[in-house]
Subunit: 238 residues, 6 copies
Amino acid sequence: MPTRVSGRTPDQLRPVSIQRQFTRHAEGSVLVSFGDTRVLCTASVEERGPAWKKEGGWVTAEYGMLPRATHTRGRREAAQGKQSGRTQEIQRLIGRSLRACVNLEALGNYTITLDCDVLQADGGTRTAAITGAYVALADAVNAMLKKGQIKKNPLFGQVAAVSVGISGGQPVLDLDYAEDSGCECDMNVVMNEAGQFIEVQGTAEGHAFRREELDALLDLATAGILQLIELQREALKA
Amino acid sequence: MPTRVSGRTPDQLRPVSIQRQFTRHAEGSVLVSFGDTRVLCTASVEERGPAWKKEGGWVTAEYGMLPRATHTRGRREAAQGKQSGRTQEIQRLIGRSLRACVNLEALGNYTITLDCDVLQADGGTRTAAITGAYVALADAVNAMLKKGQIKKNPLFGQVAAVSVGISGGQPVLDLDYAEDSGCECDMNVVMNEAGQFIEVQGTAEGHAFRREELDALLDLATAGILQLIELQREALKA
Amino acid sequence: MPTRVSGRTPDQLRPVSIQRQFTRHAEGSVLVSFGDTRVLCTASVEERGPAWKKEGGWVTAEYGMLPRATHTRGRREAAQGKQSGRTQEIQRLIGRSLRACVNLEALGNYTITLDCDVLQADGGTRTAAITGAYVALADAVNAMLKKGQIKKNPLFGQVAAVSVGISGGQPVLDLDYAEDSGCECDMNVVMNEAGQFIEVQGTAEGHAFRREELDALLDLATAGILQLIELQREALKA
Amino acid sequence: MPTRVSGRTPDQLRPVSIQRQFTRHAEGSVLVSFGDTRVLCTASVEERGPAWKKEGGWVTAEYGMLPRATHTRGRREAAQGKQSGRTQEIQRLIGRSLRACVNLEALGNYTITLDCDVLQADGGTRTAAITGAYVALADAVNAMLKKGQIKKNPLFGQVAAVSVGISGGQPVLDLDYAEDSGCECDMNVVMNEAGQFIEVQGTAEGHAFRREELDALLDLATAGILQLIELQREALKA
Amino acid sequence: MPTRVSGRTPDQLRPVSIQRQFTRHAEGSVLVSFGDTRVLCTASVEERGPAWKKEGGWVTAEYGMLPRATHTRGRREAAQGKQSGRTQEIQRLIGRSLRACVNLEALGNYTITLDCDVLQADGGTRTAAITGAYVALADAVNAMLKKGQIKKNPLFGQVAAVSVGISGGQPVLDLDYAEDSGCECDMNVVMNEAGQFIEVQGTAEGHAFRREELDALLDLATAGILQLIELQREALKA
Amino acid sequence: MPTRVSGRTPDQLRPVSIQRQFTRHAEGSVLVSFGDTRVLCTASVEERGPAWKKEGGWVTAEYGMLPRATHTRGRREAAQGKQSGRTQEIQRLIGRSLRACVNLEALGNYTITLDCDVLQADGGTRTAAITGAYVALADAVNAMLKKGQIKKNPLFGQVAAVSVGISGGQPVLDLDYAEDSGCECDMNVVMNEAGQFIEVQGTAEGHAFRREELDALLDLATAGILQLIELQREALKA
């Protein structure tokens, strides 16, 4: 099996770290790293349901990238006066993914907002964000239980995510920026702890991909996500 | 095999029509219908490349929905002062999908914009838009060849799209609005004429989906898209 | 009497068609054509009065043009982030004109929005929009009466509109795009079925116009509008 | 002939004053008053043609109202983040009206911007603005001639404007705010020094107006504007 | 003591005039001039408290500059679609400064908005605005007392402001535009009638300033403001 | 001398740390902490001068606060569509302050942007940002010298900042959030390594402050800043 520029095997994740309580004010605050990709995920609890829903709570996400998280400075979205299409797409994905493990009715009249801000980018920021945001969400829910804001845990199962792609003709797991820019096709996969799919988003970059390529990518993603699920569990125990 | 509310079998498309030259000014102008979903797709040729690229042309898309294309009136995005995250996500998907069958270098210094405006919505507007926009694009490219703006055809292959989902526990093809709102998971698939994948976007709505469900949905989509590819061919011959 | 490039006599309208129920969801939906100008006019009924008014309903309009309704593609206003001054001027005109035949008190706590979207433009889009929107409004009001939302018909009289101008030195009715671009002065006239004026908007383009020119234009407009009033009546009977 | 609340006869203008050089920096600066309506009109000369035109200059206008120019405070448009439809309609009207007396080719590569800011409003702000802006424009053009920026005077003729309407059943000239709010129909007329029409904008407020009413209003406007033309001449001589 | 280009001594204010009731509609309307700097300050009383405060009233300010108040035309902020950072900074300063002399609880459920619009600029517009706005505020409060909207005067003390700076190496009072553009450091000072500080904002332009320079500037400002306080008093007696 | 809630003496800074190379991509990247206030300051070098300046480079700053840097979640400015007045005021202050120690001509055709993003807020974010941004700027300039982009060091001197205020009746240095919210007056001071003033911004919150209070605050600030200057030096040596 040929190795990658980074020396990783095709099915190898980058070193992952999940640091809880990175900042003080948020009910959940996690700095997640997938190699050089570092995302600060905070979970904020507010006592209000969404405007368009009479009962039950809500879980939503916002995503941002610090202007110099990347190789060359990007323009600040607040100064631009709007969030890019890419930003909106990512934050909608994060929110949808996390809601897949929450019983919103059991959340009562609360909204939890997951802010995922990329401090440093090296590929896979959205999948790192989902993986870290789950831990921040779990911390926030535990804080709510402790304060008596809710009676029973609204979380069922876990959610984690990883990217996969075909790079140099071979399917690989957890692409870094160099692999991502050069890859022929790119897929983000979100799963739960039972290995079931929550989101699958695959895009052909260089050439359209065949069904057997798709199958290989899904296998890689499944194995990678089950490792991430385990790392989340350990982090939450610590 | 249980039938659907609409009387269709699980693997049956809605009646599809592809009407070329619906309006006069555009280089390509197609009214595509998937059942009651009707989208006007125009292709406009402009002599300018994209600002961020020194050589070669570009293909891009914009998407809109007339305020009363839907059951209840939606707010006009132009009056709101911005396009929603959903709109941006869809138009990025359409543009990316169509570019997958275009040799941009062979397009010279031209930009082709595909405007997909939904006149009436009944589910599957983005997949109908991609399917119709391909035909408008082909007409525009033929007009360019005829005028001598380009020497060789920059299109290779065809692109079409369809939605699939699990509704009432069974995998079904080409969901209408009623099926789409109630479905447990929903996937949009874009393929080329060789049955290869260009985009796969699946989202769990009610519950996470198992690998075998995913496989069944991909099978349905593949069969449906190959029919749409054939319908595009016939429309272009007419 | 010299004829026009189009072969029409100076006092001749273009072929006019008024197609009701063009789309399904709206309470009124009319595709109106004045020659090659085609505007989709929908009337949407919502149960809310305007914020700034304690009692009675409201009738308002929004106007848009699909990017490639015109010879060269115009930028999409939703993508630009704002409606142009021209768009706002036109939609204010349409709303004001239609309100001139509505007893707003009799409309109860309802707002009717007339969306006029130009699918294809060849001059006179605002006057075609007013003429078509009246028919959509009449259909919506009839639907409300049938559902028992209102007791008595809030419409009194009819409203239609046409453009007139001086082209090649001679006053002509219902200018198409070629005549409109080259004309020396241009006037939009809105009248009711009694031949009384609701709006008169005349602009000198090439040279200021004399009182007798103004008089000739008003005569042409009056005759033209009375024909349109008749065509509306026939369409509503069909 | 019944008199008006203000004591004026139906064909009587309010006291008009035209004060030149009201501020120091602008090439033309005029404070115009029609009774209690006071508008500061400045003309600014900039050495640049419009972006969309290869040759010749341009004359354009912007309009604003100080928040407390009116009885109750209006919101500041700069704080709102956009100009209202009304503001845009008015500034387009002012620009178009003034251009009707300018030979743009003779203006060379210059743009003259007429800023019309209402310090105090009592009806007829747009017509006062046009009347005052003409004088500011004439001053700016004279300054350009003196500096040698242009060789020949690009102005031909004069432009002035007034409102007319039907109030209490009778046609009256130059409506103040009280008359304007209560009037049945309202018309703004712009003419040149030869009594020819540049713009006619009439709107039925209470009821549609008959042709003979329209004729009476146009007669009143013509007589009023010829007086304003004379007042402009005197102001420019002073 | 060397004199300034303007002939003023270093500690000399420009001629100051405070003209009350400059416009009719506002509860307070003051045209303040500091030499060629002329600012129209209106105070508008509205019966509503601020949204974020349960009890007591509010005093706030907005600032604007007419496009041609300056040597070269500036772009109109309403047309730009936003207020510049400079504008926001100034209006926040004016509001904060005026609130320093108001007992907001005694203001009941009223909001007073101070609109400060610069008709002509020659340096020191923000300090002239604060000085004039105080007088407009006092007039508005008196009108409220007279109407019985409030029982006791919510104003305590007076507020005025002036700029100071180091120009040509010497500390000077009340800089005009020429001095301001060329100055090495620039300070805006707001004080009350007891000579106490409400705001001090000093900025080094050319070089950092020493403590003794700062002290000299504060002395100049104090003496200048006490004169302005006296001029406000006289204006309010008139 | 009474102590503060935090146990600090009135003239005592919070523990300060300056961590260089916190992220990888930026030419300078500093995480600065003043107690619990943590700001990430990056310096980005781009090869372009400012649009409005023919020669020489530019130094500018942008400021942001992560939504949950604070006790309760603030709205994300990118989602709001604009930067608040407070944000703009702060980033203008940071940019101006840093430019006070840069010879812009010696910077050639480069722009350095200082992005200051608050990860956690506990009072004094703008002064911490200035202090940290100086170190990031020094690192970026050194990188430019090493790469040969510039020949001589454009920095002269150092810049640091601190807040001071009157809290519980006594002048104190470096206020934390609790002191800041309750303080009677609040001043931000920016100085260079020679103890000269670059910016002084004082605001009375509860009551106007006397000259001797101002003097005491300036003394405290001077002593505090000289300590910060020393800490910057040590960090840059490390």
